[in-house]
């Protein structure tokens, strides 16, 4: 059974002192309900994703205690993809006809902390300073640049596009354009990645309302169909976050596996996609993910980005709302922010950042520790 998205809602991403993650989640849900033209009491089930909040379902205290099944999920940076996939599958199973996926988070500033043992790593791995995600991203793009001829200037162009697109997005965290020189000149964090090439953990919430495709026209004249939604974890030999060792044998990463499965499920290929959201934890990740999701061959990014291919008016528009670089990453909400942007783009409601030519197919990808990826494909 096909599933439709009939409503999306967002609480802006950024820093909101005094506003709890639960309250941001409630605001995102109310906006999604209003967008769909339904009431909270109509919602039959929900999935909620968060890293910081143990029980996103507590949001019912702000919306109404209706007794619905409300399941909380956490799956690293792919948390929102997991909430969305589970919500869609609940509809496909025929259990319920109107449901909701919501993500919310409120992180303190600075790099994510954690206990290495929770990631199947020994304690010493953290004690000696290996347990940072940013270091993995630095290593991956450094090797990729060496192997495939990507320049430092290309990384700066990707970050500059993120801030520029963020300036067109009233919900974004970072809206001030930065020049390539400012980006390259900011402090080095993990070579070759500088401070302004990284996204920041921040705060925000996003929600979507889903129903069976056959019901969608009862609610909206512009349903957006969820053609595929997949989650994959790393296989042996993939180069992934928090790996004290890697085998000699090598294979593709979790993103490639999730992407291939999504294309197959949707019956859609990368050449059919009109607007793209990729996990840009850092500028290098966006470059690599262009190839890992099938939008170009390894190394072609250098010329494509120089030619402006990934700009809003280019042939491969990537992260039209500024991506993670401009929006930051409230982990539980990040993937639903991507869905929110694709839905607006496919409806033609993206305002100053609208991709020209009435885009018909959108694509989203998430990636994070310890090697988990989520991909969604949407169409009009």
């Amino acid at each position: 059974m096909d599933v439709a998205i009939i409503g999306v809602g967002l609480h802006p991403f950024g820093r909101f002192p005094g506003v709890s993650a639960i309250d941001m989640g409630a605001i995102a849900i109310r906006r999604a309900l209003a967008d769909a033209g339904v009431e909270w009491r109509d919602i039959e089930f929900a999935f909620g994703g968060s890293y910081e909040i143990d029980n996103p379902d507590a949001v019912v205290a702000r919306l109404g205690l209706t007794g619905i099944p409300f399941t909380d999920v956490y799956n690293g940076c792919a948390t929102a993809a997991s909430a969305l996939t589970l919500a869609a599958n609940t509809i496909r199973l025929g259990d319920h006809r109107l449901g909701l996926a919501v993500g919310m988070d409120k992180h303190v500033p600075g790099a994510f902390k954690g206990d290495p043992q929770d990631y199947a790593c020994p304690s010493w791995y953290g004690e000696v300073g290996h347990f940072t995600t940013t270091k993995f991203f630095g290593m991956k793009i450094n090797k990729y640049m060496h192997d495939h001829g990507i320049s430092h200037s290309t990384l700066a162009k990707v970050a500059a596009k993120g801030y520029r697109n963020g300036g067109l997005n009233p919900n974004a965290f970072r809206r001030k354009p930065l020049s390539e020189e400012e980006i390259l000149g900011s402090p080095m964090l993990n070579y070759p990645l500088t401070q302004y090439m990284f996204c920041a953990p921040d705060e925000g919430a996003a929600a979507v309302v889903l129903c069976p495709a056959e019901d969608a026209r009862r609610y909206t004249e512009t349903p957006i169909y969820l053609r595929a939604s997949t989650v994959r974890t790393r296989r042996l030999g993939a180069f992934e976050v928090h790996s004290p060792w890697l085998p000699i044998e090598e294979t593709v990463g979790a993103t490639v596996d999730a992407s291939r499965a999504a294309y197959e499920m949707a019956g859609i290929g990368p050449q059919d996609v009109d607007v793209i959201q990729l996990q840009d934890t850092d500028a290098g990740a966006e470059v690599i993910h262009m190839a890992e999701n099938g939008f170009c061959a390894d190394g072609d990014q250098e010329a494509l980005i120089a030619d402006g291919a990934t700009e809003i008016d280019g042939p491969l528009p990537v992260n039209t709302d500024g991506g993670l670089i401009a929006n930051g990453e409230p982990i539980g909400a990040s993937g639903l922010r991507q869905i929110h942007e694709i839905v607006l783009q496919l409806r033609g409601q993206a305002g100053d950042r609208q991709v020209p030519g009435s885009p018909k197919v959108g694509y989203t990808q998430l990636y994070g520790a310890p090697g988990t990826a989520g991909v969604s494909i949407l169409s009009v």
Binding site: G129, N190, L193, P247, I248
Partner: protein, 141 residues
């Protein structure tokens, strides 16, 4: 001042030629570091100790220019923090190991350069012992 390893069971110490202590799966031959009691490829629990060769080639690298969050980071902090480099060294036909590198200048780190295992000072523990950890240094050519 006594020297103590950052953890027991990860490298042979004290030793003039320290080696990393890995696991090898008796069923499929998979090599894993640090030692673990089951196989990441075939899930066998028939595992034997396996000492790794001391030389390999630099497979990927970056620098750690900011102080990692503490906990878990237990090294020098604040003005005493010294940026370092980190990378994977591919030990031929065995495994790729993630480790601190003794050279942290991006201009001097070369993809596929030959590297050798060393044990280096890392910090001081609560009892005043010098804590040492493993690292790879470029082999002088």
């Amino acid at each position: 001042m006594a020297q103590v390893p950052v953890a027991e069971g990860i490298f042979t110490w004290p030793s003039d030629d320290p080696q990393l202590i890995a696991s090898r799966c008796s069923a499929c031959g998979m090599v894993m570091f640090p030692a673990q009691d089951s196989c990441a490829r075939c899930a066998s629990t028939e595992i034997e100790e396996h000492l790794l060769p001391r030389r390999g080639r630099l497979w990927a690298w970056t620098t750690q220019d900011f102080q990692p969050p503490s906990p878990p980071y237990a090294g020098a902090t604040g003005k005493d923090f010294v940026p370092f480099a980190i990378g994977y060294v591919e030990l031929p036909d065995e495994v790729k190991v993630e480790a601190r590198l003794t050279e942290s200048d991006p201009e001097k780190l070369v993809q596929a350069a030959e590297m050798e295992l060393v044990v280096v000072p890392f910090g001081t523990d609560d009892d005043g012992n010098e804590v040492v950890t493993f690292a790879f240094r470029p082999v002088a050519t």
